[in-house]
């Protein structure tokens, strides 16, 4: 496999980081295409990076980027991949937050902010349902749905902290194996 220069690797992650919208899955799909096209990463290593990224805490796509960068150029590659894919996007998010704060007292901005906030909440609820839906296979929906609803009830009704709910889910997952 060709070993790219650090600048070429950084450039790829920077370009994908600022041009791909929609979160982790589209980003990983674009990176996969680019890696295969350049012959930087084998399908076997891609599969291990993808699988382990799902088991790594935090944002999956960043763990995947670190793993891919590490496979390609070691620690320097992992650092370059994560920094290049997050710094420009983070600057843009800060700018968007500043823009909101500076314009929040204008009636027009307030009207737009109200509808944006409603969309953000709808997006959160939709993302929660999507997370479970995409994991449900035909005839195997009981476990995902039951654990999700139980977590909601434990947090919203029983008032357990998120960490307690996550701990309970881990125990349930250990003793309730997937069929």
């Amino acid at each position: 496999m060709p070993r790219p220069r650090l600048s070429a690797l950084s450039h790829l992650f920077l370009r994908v980081g600022v041009t791909v919208f929609g979160g982790g899955d589209p980003t990983i799909a674009i990176l996969q295409r680019e890696f295969y096209r350049r012959d930087w990463l084998s399908p076997e290593k891609f599969a291990i990076a993808f699988g382990l990224a799902r088991l790594t805490p935090g944002t999956n796509v960043l763990a995947f980027s670190a793993a891919a960068g590490w496979y390609i150029l070691g620690i320097a590659g992992a650092l370059a991949a994560v920094l290049a894919s997050t710094i420009p996007a983070s600057l843009l998010v800060i700018w968007l937050t500043r823009a909101y704060r500076l314009t929040a007292h204008y009636p027009l901005a307030l009207a737009i902010a109200n509808t944006l906030l409603a969309a953000a909440v709808g997006t959160m609820l939709g993302a929660a349902v999507l997370l479970v839906r995409t994991q449900c296979k035909p005839g195997r929906w009981l476990r995902p749905v039951a654990i999700s609803i139980a977590a909601f009830v434990l947090a919203d009704v029983v008032k357990l902290t998120p960490l307690e709910v996550i701990g309970a889910a881990a125990v349930a997952g250990f003793f309730w194996p997937e069929s």
């Binding site: 935090g58 992992a78 937050t97 969309a119 997006t123 250990f174």
Partner: protein
């Protein structure tokens, strides 16, 4: 808020979640409910800012950090977002194929499903704050349906919501 404390609180949230927005309940618990350094509305603003721009879903923690403590806070949020990613390197070295063990996968997926329930739980109070009249309620419902059941990029949902706000202001 002290930079280190802010970083530790945010990294606690990112380290205990397994997808971008799943850290939201821990963030809300610490910053809105216990320390009162953020309001539900500001938290929803951070989520919206993270959704409008490119990048991963978890990037909203940068906005949370910025809203709590300006530029240093944004840096703390950015560090908290990227820190867990590097855990995968020792995992690649030492776990490798063992991470595919059915029991390990079952536990990880159970935590993922719990994240969905927690996310919905965190959205409930934000929804109460966001729904001031029928228009936001309609936008919330449409956004929910589009994200949950259609393959539409959330950027278009946000742009559509902004357009609806613009139109409602003039008409």
């Amino acid at each position: 808020m002290n930079f280190v404390v802010l970083y530790l609180l945010l990294v606690k949230a990112t380290l205990t979640s397994f997808s971008g927005l799943a850290s939201l309940p821990v963030v809300r618990n610490d910053f809105v409910q216990h320390r009162h350094v953020l309001t539900d509305r500001q938290l929803a603003t951070a989520v919206a800012a993270g959704r409008i721009g490119p990048g991963p879903l978890g990037i909203y923690v940068v906005s949370v950090g910025y809203l709590v403590d300006g530029t240093p806070g944004a840096c703390a949020g950015w560090l908290a977002m990227i820190t867990p990613a590097f855990l995968i390197i020792p995992m690649l070295r030492f776990l490798g194929v063992r991470a595919e063990h059915p029991r390990a996968r079952a536990v990880a997926r159970a935590v993922l499903f719990a994240g969905a329930g927690l996310m919905a739980s965190a959205a409930v109070p934000l929804a109460r704050d966001a729904i001031a009249n029928p228009l936001p309620l309609g936008i919330l419902v449409v956004s929910f349906l589009v994200i949950a059941f259609a393959r539409v990029d959330s950027l278009w949902v946000m742009l559509g919501a902004a357009l609806a706000g613009l139109v409602s202001f003039y008409f």
